[in-house]
Point group: C2
Chain length 430, copies 2
């Protein structure tokens, strides 16, 4: 099913089975699972967790060091973790689980797969040990290989996946915004990622499915329980449809029930898989805000849709806009602009060394500029674009000063304007 590891098929299958059993026994959020696998490898961790072997003092130290390096200060040691994991060992049967999944059109993606979504590595120690998927809602699949190929094809691609999340108790307004956003995104061949809940999640998936073109997985749902469980029950037809035309993902082994803890852990997967998270509606305290905060932690841009100041369903969005770097968005075009601006920021083009050296000995390009122009130049991002309003805030200068300063900097070849946004001009050619 996977040609990328270069291992013979039986070795690859064995790895998949072991990872499936580790997924079964290690609860999401138990970061010692990642530390042990990273320090000791999948096979050895599996022997310890499921084979009844005891870790050597050196192995305990290696796992603890890995945990400490990942900043997991409050994690107890490997022996304590093994005690937790072994309580579930009797339930673990990776071969059975994989066979059952593959039977109904699913499987388990593992980090060793070429198709593994590299975005998940941004989670570092919180990265999942594996990712179950389902890409058939019903019926049997005769060729597991085709199912894995379909899943790989339907996985969110970097730059083409937006999470649309929000309250279960959405207003008519929230439903309309979620549907229009999802529809506009899907029409641009951008996948809509969300949970499987009633409310905003369901409205976004429905609209994305309706707007999706053939051959493009417009709707991807990340579940908090097993891929064989359609939860909530009322959304079963929708979730089957997502599996048929899009993709269901979960880090929970088949049969696992969604719990409150797993919903919260699930939110980090949504944040990591998406290029941006858009909160359509959220109450003052809302699970959607946890997804937004995960995204901010990961450096993903977050958009929030404004609404009536009288709507409790918008209070969480307004709170995000006031208290975090979340940005106000009103439609899909603004969401994609936000993603493009963040991509420029996060992926700076390295300056060739020769050029960097040349510039080091150049005369000061700011010579002769006034205090205000210098402050504006300092505030201008080198590798992305920003608005004059933002420059005004960063430089602490009034807007007319910023605008006249920018036009002076532009005349001197120090600032460049693109579609009303400003950045530093590229250094002139030698």
């Amino acid at each position: 099913m996977n040609q990328s590891t270069g291992s013979p098929p039986w070795a690859e299958r064995r790895l998949r089975v072991m990872r499936s059993e580790l997924c079964r026994v290690v609860e999401p959020g138990d970061l010692m699972g990642w530390a042990a696998v990273t320090a000791l490898g999948v096979e050895r961790t599996h022997q310890l967790a499921l084979g009844g072997e005891e870790p050597s003092p050196g192995e305990q130290e290696a796992a603890a060091r890995q945990a400490a390096e990942a900043g997991l200060r409050r994690t107890a040691g490997l022996r304590d973790a093994l005690k937790r994991w072994r309580t579930r060992a009797a339930q673990a049967d990776g071969a059975r689980d994989l066979a059952a999944l593959e039977d109904f059109g699913g499987g388990l993606l593992i980090p060793e797969d070429a198709a593994w979504p590299q975005q998940l590595n941004d989670l570092q120690a919180a990265a999942p040990l594996g990712l179950y998927f389902r890409c058939r809602g019903s019926g049997r699949s005769t060729h597991p290989q085709q199912v894995y190929a379909a899943a790989a094809d339907r996985l969110p691609r970097p730059g083409r996946c937006i999470a649309v999340v929000g309250a279960r108790e959405m207003s008519d307004y929230g439903g309309q915004v979620a549907a229009e956003l999802a529809e506009q995104l899907a029409a641009r061949e951008v996948a809509v990622l969300s949970g499987g809940a009633y409310g905003v999640d369901a409205a976004a998936h429905r609209a994305a499915l309706a707007a999706g073109t053939s051959g493009f997985a417009s709707s991807v749902a990340v579940l908090a329980g097993g891929a064989d469980r359609f939860y909530p029950a009322g959304n079963e037809p929708l979730l089957r449809s997502i599996a048929d035309h899009g993709l269901l993902l979960t880090e929970m082994a088949p049969g696992s029930a969604p719990t409150r803890h797993r919903f919260l852990q699930r939110n980090r997967l949504i944040a990591a898989l998406a290029d941006a998270v858009v909160v359509v509606e959220a109450r003052w305290r809302s699970g959607a805000l946890s997804t937004a905060h995960h995204a901010l932690e990961l450096g993903r841009p977050v958009g929030a849709v404004p609404g009536s100041v009288y709507s409790a369903s918008s209070a969480g969005c307004h709170r995000l806009l006031q208290q975090t770097p979340a940005q106000l968005v009103t439609d899909a075009a603004e969401v994609m602009q936000m993603v493009a601006a963040a991509a420029l920021e996060q992926d700076p083009l390295p300056l060739p060394e020769s050029s960097a050296q040349r510039h080091r000995s150049d005369p000061d390009p700011l010579e002769g500029l006034g205090e205000a122009e210098r402050r504006i130049y300092d505030a201008l991002p080198a590798r992305r674009l920003t608005t004059a309003g933002r420059l005004s805030q960063v430089a602490g200068l009034a807007m007319p000063q910023v605008l006249s300063g920018l036009s002076r900097l532009q005349r001197r070849g120090l600032a460049a304007e693109t579609n009303g946004q400003w950045g530093r001009a590229r250094p002139p050619a030698p």
Copy 2:
């Protein structure tokens, strides 16, 4: 009427008459009026504009220098300005205008008055030459002195005046928000400042008047025409009521018609007189946005009320929130928080020199801190408070890092938290 200039009453009256005549002939926005008065004085400018005298080459140069110093590059010279001003000389009769105004309960405030709102000086070259007022809607006043005292009493006080502005074509939602904001502000004895238009202006004034306590002028309107003109006509009862219980202000001489140009110029007075401007509803292009931009230029905080992404009446507010440093506000408490934060920022407490010197030789308080804590400390404002979200943005660190870093800085006495906002801790006492 005014004891502050220390001049005999006739000299003070003469000054008021001269300024009134200058207000009549110099159109708002003609910044050469300010340059001439500043360079040559009121009396000499009056002789030139209304007495038919010709400026000496030295006077022309002084006025031009004053204009250039104020950054007015594109202003033509004094002789051209005099040509403009003299076209209206025949209409100027300051004694008649003042008598008429005082007769119906108004007058002219001038910069030489103790009661002159010092906030207007922030306008620099765009400051008005005088400010007509009306504090009686109808009936005659027997004592002009009382009228001036009443006006002085009703003028917006720094820290206690918020402009509530917005679209004429407001939605029901905009009307409700404007009324609740104004009511909540007036209930805190904060004056509501606005124009006199239909829509948001009128809704804000009505609610402020209804919520005002006796002896407190809860409603102040700045007009684009003369104080004897109630415009628009349908708002005459409201404007009379504002005059009776609050204050009408304008820089236009009596009888002057409001023009498009004067509406735009009037907006700068609203921005300068208020501690903050709140835009309740505005279309993509709206006069309310010009008031907001004037406020941002003056360094006044600007709040914008969010609304439905489908409402054209909220598009301008969303635009402000996306493109300028305007802040999202949902009620009066948030508006007052915004004003308090901005006041701390603009009026830093000077550190006593001895203390500053002592700290210069202190050991590095950041010794032993990690990179993240140092970046958070650098991002912490010294003299005001900010949110963790903003710190995350400024320091470029994820929220959990910011929160844990803040708590470490707090334990070391380097950061202090007040009502969920953060600043640097005051240096410890010696």
